[in-house]
Subunit: 437 residues, 2 copies
C-alpha cells in the first residue's frame, strides 16, 4: 500500500486527508498542534468575542472516520527529496510514496525580527491569547495610570497592515472601546482610546476592488478608527511606533497584520524559493521534477495565468481536495493517464469590519453593509468544522450582536503566576516573565 505523508493540519492538509478517506493508501498526518484552527476567525478570539474551543477542532476528531489515517502530534524538521523521507523533531523518520507539504506561513517582519515580541501577529491560537491579553491589560493599566501621557499611550492601539485581518482587528477593537467596556471603568473613558491602522499601500483591503476599499475605509472611520494609508512603519519600540512620515506615535499595543513568510521547513527541500519563502510549484502544485511532492496553500507560489494565487482559505481547501483526488486516482486506476492541472475556482472574497458591517466582492457583484455581513456570517458558520461549533458560534454571535458583550474577556496565563500585573513597569508583560521560569 502506498504511503502518503501530509505535513500540516490546516485547510489544505485536512482537505487532502479527507479526499483520501476511501483511497487504498496509508496516510500519516503530522501537525505540531492537536487542533485545526479556523484561521479567518482567529481575530475573534484575539478580540474576546469567541472562545478558543469555538474555532478549533481536534485534528483526530475531524479525521476520526478516516480509518486509513494516523495523526501524529509532532513536527517535521527536514525533508529528504532523494531518500523520500521526512525527519521529525522527535527523531522519527517517515518514508513516503507521496508527500503533501501544507505547513502554512508565519509573519514576516521584513528582516526586523526584533519587532515580533513588540507587535504580535495572528496565526495560531497562542498568538490570539497574547493579543487578547495585551488589549485587555492595556485598559486595565490605563485605569491605574496617573500620568496622562502614559495613559494615552496605553490607550493607543496601532494595527500594522490593512488587509482583511488588519481591518477586522481594527473594527473589533473600535467596538470594544466604544461599546463593550463602556461602563466598566472609573478613571478612564474607554471611548477615548485611539485605534490607528497603518497601511503601506494607497488603500485598505488592497486585494479588493477600489470601491470596496473606499467603503471599508469609510466604515472604519465611522467606527472611530484612524486610517493612515501610504504609511510604512519604520520602527517599533515598546513605547511607540515611528512611521515613514517621520512621525512618532506613542502606543503600548501594536498588532502585526502585514507580511507573511512561508514555513522554514521548505528551505530543507533544496529547491529555489520565492522572496516570501514559498515553493514555485508546477501546474499540478508539485515541486518541479518531483511529481510525488505536493506543496499546497500558503507554502505554494502557484502561477495562475501570470498572477500568483493568494494565501487564502479557499485556495488551500481547493488545493487540498485536488491533491487528494490526484493521489486517489493514481493509486486506484491501473492506467491513470496524465494529471489534470489544478484550477482555482474563485468564489469571491468577504471582509467583516464590525457588527453588521462588511464588504463582499463576489464575481461581478460588489456590495457592502448588512447584507455582506450576513453573508459573511453564514459562509463562515458553514465552513466551521464540527456541528457543535456551528451552533455555539451562531448563538454567541447572536448574543453579542444584541448585547455588545464579549464573553471571552479573560486575561489568562499559561500557568498560575504570582502577580499578573505591575502597572508601573515599563515592560509589556512583566508578570508573564515572572511566571514563566
Amino acid at each position: 500500500m502506498k504511503r502518503v505523508v501530509i505535513l500540516g493540519g490546516g485547510f489544505a492538509g485536512l482537505n487532502a486527508a479527507k479526499a483520501l478517506r476511501k483511497a487504498r493508501v496509508s496516510v500519516t498526518l503530522v501537525d505540531r498542534h492537536n487542533h485545526h484552527v479556523f484561521q479567518p476567525m482567529l481575530y475573534q478570539v484575539a478580540t474576546a468575542a469567541l472562545s478558543p474551543g469555538d474555532i478549533a477542532s481536534p485534528i483526530r476528531s475531524v479525521l476520526r472516520n478516516n480509518r486509513n489515517t494516523e495523526v501524529l502530534l509532532d513536527e517535521a524538521e527536514a525533508i529528504d527529496l532523494g531518500a523520500r523521507s521526512v525527519h521529525l523533531v522527535s527523531g522519527r523518520s517517515l518514508p513516503y510514496d507521496y508527500l503533501i507539504v501544507a505547513t502554512g506561513a508565519r509573519h514576516s517582519y521584513f528582516g526586523r525580527d526584533e519587532w515580533e515580541p513588540l507587535a504580535p501577529g495572528l496565526k495560531e491560537l497562542e498568538d490570539a491569547f497574547v493579543v487578547r491579553r495585551r488589549i485587555l491589560l492595556a485598559f486595565e493599566r490605563a485605569e491605574q495610570e496617573p500620568d496622562p501621557a502614559a495613559r494615552e499611550a496605553l490607550l493607543t492601539f496601532v494595527i500594522v497592515g490593512a488587509g482583511p485581518t488588519g481591518v477586522e482587528v481594527a473594527g473589533a477593537i473600535a467596538e470594544i472601546k466604544s461599546y463593550t467596556l463602556e461602563r466598566d471603568f472609573r478613571n478612564i473613558n474607554p471611548r477615548s482610546a485611539r485605534v490607528i491602522v497603518m497601511e503601506g499601500g494607497p488603500r485598505v483591503l488592497p486585494a479588493y476592488p477600489p470601491e470596496l476599499s473606499e467603503k471599508a475605509q469609510q466604515t472604519l472611520e465611522r467606527l472611530g478608527v484612524d486610517v493612515c494609508t501610504n504609511t510604512m512603519v519604520t520602527d517599533i519600540r515598546p513605547d511607540g511606533v515611528t512611521s515613514s512620515s517621520g512621525e512618532y506615535t506613542p502606543a503600548r499595543t501594536v498588532i502585526w497584520a502585514a507580511g507573511n513568510v512561508a514555513s522554514p521547513l521548505l528551505k530543507t527541500l533544496g529547491v529555489p524559493l520565492d522572496r516570501q519563502g514559498r515553493v514555485p510549484v508546477a501546474q499540478d502544485s508539485t515541486v518541479p521534477g518531483h511529481p510525488e511532492v505536493f506543496v499546497l496553500g500558503d507554502a505554494a507560489a502557484f502561477d495562475d495565468k501570470g498572477r500568483l494565487l493568494p494565501g487564502t482559505c479557499p485556495v488551500a481547501i481547493q488545493m487540498g481536495k485536488y491533491a487528494g483526488s490526484v493521489i486517489r486516482r493514481e493509486t486506484s486506476a491501473a492506467t491513470p493517464g496524465p494529471r489534470p492541472p489544478f484550477h482555482f475556482f474563485d468564489k469571491g472574497q468577504l471582509a467583516v469590519i464590525g457588527r453588521g458591517r462588511a464588504v463582499a466582492d463576489i464575481g461581478k457583484a460588489h456590495f457592502s453593509g448588512f447584507i455582506a455581513w450576513l453573508l459573511w456570517i453564514f459562509i463562515h458558520i458553514f465552513f466551521l468544522i464540527g456541528f457543535r461549533n456551528r451552533v455555539l458560534v451562531l448563538l454567541e454571535w447572536a448574543i453579542s450582536y444584541f448585547t455588545y458583550s464579549r464573553g471571552a474577556r479573560l486575561i489568562t496565563y499559561d500557568r498560575p503566576v504570582h502577580m499578573p500585573t505591575a502597572p508601573r513597569s515599563a515592560d509589556a508583560e512583566p508578570a508573564l516573565e515572572a511566571g514563566a521560569r
Copy 2:
C-alpha cells in the same frame, strides 16, 4: 465617605461588593485576575467539556452597575491592622475603614511542595489549562510510545483525594477514555486507560452521609474507576506514585484534589492562624478585636456550634452578603445597634460523577442518579454569573450529553512554541519550558 476595601473577587468578595451597591461608601475591590471563576465547574474546563469563557466573567462587568466600586487588577502583599491600610504589590497603599479579606485558599501538599509541579490541583483557570494539557498530551504520547510499560504509565491517571473535586475529575476522565476518544487513536485503545482515586480516609465524599459515599463509589466503579480508600500517597515522582501500602503505581498524570491552605496574605495580619492557615474568626466573621476587618470564605475558620464551616461556595456567598449588609447598615443608620452574628443556612450539597450521575444530600433527603444530576445542572446554571454564560453552558451540556463530545479538547500554550511535544522525553512538559523563556 467610608472606604471599604475588598481583597479577592471570588464568591465572598463579589457578593460583599454587590450587597454594598446602594451603600453610601466608596468600595475598592482588588484581585490579581481580571475575572471571577466559577470554581465548582473548573474541573469541566480541566476535562475539556467547557471553555474558560463559559465559567469565568470579568469582575468589572459583574460590578458594572456598582457605581461606588472601583476594581483594581493588583495583589495585596500585606495588611497593616494598626494603620488600617493594605499594601499592594504594585507599590500602592489602600487605606480602609472596613476591610474584607476574601483571598481564598490554594492547595496544600502537606509540606511536600516539591509535589506541586508533578500533581497540579484546580483553583484557577490557569490550573485547569495545565491539567487539561496533561490529560490530552498523555493520550497523544501513548499513541506514539512503542514500549508497553511506558505506554501503560502514560495511560494511568491518579487522582489524589476523593472529595467532590476528586470524584468529579475521576468521573470525567473515565468518560473521556471510554466515550470521547473512542475512535480517535490508531495504536492505543483509550478505553484501556486506568483511572485511580486514592483517598486517605475510609470513604469517598467524606463530608456526605455514608450511604451517598457508597453510591458514589459504586457509580465510579461502574465507570471503570479504581477507588482506593484508606490509601495515603507517600511519594510522587515524575513516573509514578507510591502509596501508604508501599505499592508503587507507574503513572505519568497525577491530579491533586487533597488538602487546602489559606492564602499566605493572612500571615501578615499578625494574629494566630489555624493549621490550615485560616483566621479563627469571631461570630461576626471578623478578626477578634478588629470589628472593621472581616475574613470570609476559605480564608475564615468559622466555628458554627462546635463545627467549622466547610470551604464551599454557599458559605462564601452567604458570608459575603452578610458582611456587605452589616457594613451598609452601620454606614447608613445613625444608631445601628449591635451586630447580629453570622448564621449559615445549609441548603445541602451535591456532587456530580458523570453524565447523568450525581449524589445529593439536601436536608433529610439523600438521593442519587439522574434526578440528582438534573438538580446539579439547574443549580449550577442558576448560579453562573451572566446571562450569556447560562445559555451557552446549557447548550454545550446538551450537545455533550447527546454526543459525548468535548468541545474544548485543545492542547494550548501561553504563546507560540517551537515544538509542543517530544514524546520520548522524560519531562512532563518539555515544550513549555522551551517556549517560556
